[in-house]
Assembly symmetry: C2
């Protein structure tokens, strides 16, 4: 029994080594895999067969095997079966996406809805409907969804699947993962954290060095990526940029404070009542002075909060995402001017502001991407689990 | 030749393994060291002999060897020969300390001087005199100082030993390490970073979890310790708390910005012209209303900056050091009240403010401690280097 357990642990470790090599360097022949991993060819062949059976790898046909020139059959990571679900509850929309094991986004769904007007139960029921219909669509594409993550606009407790506080929704301690009751393992994470990971894996993240990704929504969050991983802080609550103090005597914020960045640069501060983002962008394109002035006010406040963030966090680059992506041409200039005025003398270099390459889907993509990372890091947990 | 190099590298690695075990778990017998490290008893005996010759280890006499009850001679890390020098240039003082290999502080020196009135050359010459006299004292105690670090009040380039900018001194791009020209390897680091490490190794740091250490001087810096290591940011400039924006339209700061924390809570903001810290503390003890009001103003501003720091960095605990240590009873209350008002609703727990256990010597202690860490991590570099 102990020996069997040890054998399973060893096999799980070896599966991860082989799938990791395919993910990083594939396609690879079995011989090249054996060389890269230090495993015997017999072991590699057996592990590859298991990965192919599980739909995680596939043969790509004959290739020349590097320098030796012998033809062989290469194997690559396959996206045709295993997939992950990324979901998001935000203040004025629900969203979801399905990403396959090769990190290709296969399905997107967004639903505009005022979640402030609904109870947590109704919002979660709405997300459940969206998720169930996406799982059905995924099955129609031959995809088996291994797990999901829900992005939430506030600090979460990842171990219990609970959002601790989402002031813009008026939620406190809502056990989202349990309440969702989906037929697959579901975790929760902070929306701004997942959006930063979305930029890292599906946008220009890998080229940016250490970056701070700013998610502008009705709330404003940020995620700091250091050496390719999220900086989460001691309790996972780091990056709450929206409640950085811009002006201590400023307007009251839903968090209980005053003068927080959200009150100057969040979606509600930028959009006149009744106008949507597309309407604002249209007015900006037409050069409407009040729209331009609103973006200048928001951009200057964002510049103050980002000055503070640079002083404390010292990133290489700052990525503006969420609503700040379509508003980038009008918001980034005032923000940069403020940062240069305040940081230019004490820093050799003021971090550049760049626009998100992912935009509105960043958080669900980051969530699904995180599930894919976990599967690739431990395919055995998925593959060796008792099949239902 | 290649084999000799390989042998040296192996020996250096094994020396580090043995010295690391003594540092963590000593005193240990040679037999226990062999068991703990997986090295043969012959190899351990030879390495221990080398460490004893180098003055890094010493026999502590016969002890019972754990469970087996056989008496043996234990070895422990020795502080009697190898030591490190910590130095600090700040706005109104120079400081130095010598710490031995067992992390016992052996010598302290502080010199009050207005470094704003002097040229960088003169300040560095003054620090050189202080260092040379401390090296002579150390030699008188039988200590051989292996290296030093200079703490500087601004962002530094550690690779070139240069302080990039120290606005409170009016310095830009001063090559401090080279200019100091001491007869030992000298590095530079940011004062606030080293003070955080000083608290970690010589204060209550290890018990605090992830903590933010605030260094109040004429400037205000902070160092974030995560998992026992400094969070430095992409360019080593993280933790510039003094230039966090408290109120964007506030008074002009030497950094080029306005309304920075330093202008509300730095030493110059707290002390009326001509008064020193001891005078202020005396007035506070006597209940002088203007002194109390000054600390309330400073504490509230500190509370705003720390609210922002908690939102972005999410530490477990915040340690107030430098001038905030003697002023803790008068500054911490207003700061905590501000933080609770602004963070209480969105955080399950607002980080506690605690007073530094190291105080004014934190930065030089952290610097010397960092040199000691390096020697213990690689004693071979010190021990195998050609002796002069």
């Amino acid at each position: 029994m102990a020996q069997a357990l040890r054998h399973d642990a060893m096999r799980a470790g070896n599966l991860a080594v082989v799938l990791g090599a395919l993910d990083r360097d594939g396609p690879l022949t079995r011989a090249a895999l054996a060389e890269a991993t230090g495993l015997t060819k017999t072991t590699v062949s057996k592990l590859v067969a298991d990965l192919i059976d599980a739909g995680m790898a596939v043969e790509s046909g004959a290739v020349r095997d590097g320098e030796r020139g012998r033809p062989g059959v290469a194997v690559h990571l396959s996206g045709h079966r295993v997939a992950a679900l990324g979901l998001e509850i935000n203040v004025d929309y629900l969203a979801g996406c399905v990403v396959d094991l090769s990190r290709t986004a296969r399905l997107f769904r967004t639903q505009a809805v005022d979640n402030r007007a609904a109870s947590p139960e109704d919002v979660i029921a709405g997300l459940r409907d969206l998720a169930i219909s996406m799982l059905a669509d995924a099955a129609g594409h031959g995809l088996s969804v291994a797990g999901g993550i829900v992005a939430l606009p506030g600090p979460v407790d990842r171990s219990t699947g609970t959002v601790h506080s989402a002031p813009n929704l008026g939620w406190r301690d809502v056990p989202v993962a349990d309440a969702l009751a989906l037929p697959l393992p579901v975790l929760v994470d902070n929306e701004a954290n997942l959006a930063a990971l979305g930029e890292l894996w599906f946008g220009s993240g890998a080229a940016l060095g250490d970056f701070l990704h700013v998610s502008g929504e009705i709330g404003i969050g940020a995620g700091l990526v250091v050496d390719g991983a999220l900086f989460r802080g001691a309790h996972g609550y780091a990056g709450e940029l929206g409640h950085v103090v811009v002006s201590p005597d400023g307007p009251a914020c839903r968090c209980g404070g005053t003068g927080c960045l959200e009150r100057y640069a969040g979606q509600d501060a930028l959009l006149p009542a009744g106008e949507d983002l597309a309407g604002l962008v249209a007015r900006l394109r037409a050069g409407d002075p009040s729209a331009v002035a609103a973006c200048e006010r928001a951009g200057s406040a964002l510049g103050i909060a980002l000055t503070t963030a640079v002083n404390l966090l010292d990133p290489d680059t700052i990525v503006l995402g969420g609503i700040f992506a379509p508003l980038f041409p009008w918001v980034s200039g005032p923000a940069e001017a403020t940062m240069h005025r305040r940081l230019g003398q004490i820093r050799a270099r003021v971090p550049a502001l760049v626009v998100s390459q992912v935009g509105a889907d960043a958080a669900p993509l980051g969530g699904a991407g995180q599930v894919i990372q976990r599967i690739i890091a431990d395919p055995g947990a998925h593959l060796l689990a008792p099949q239902p």
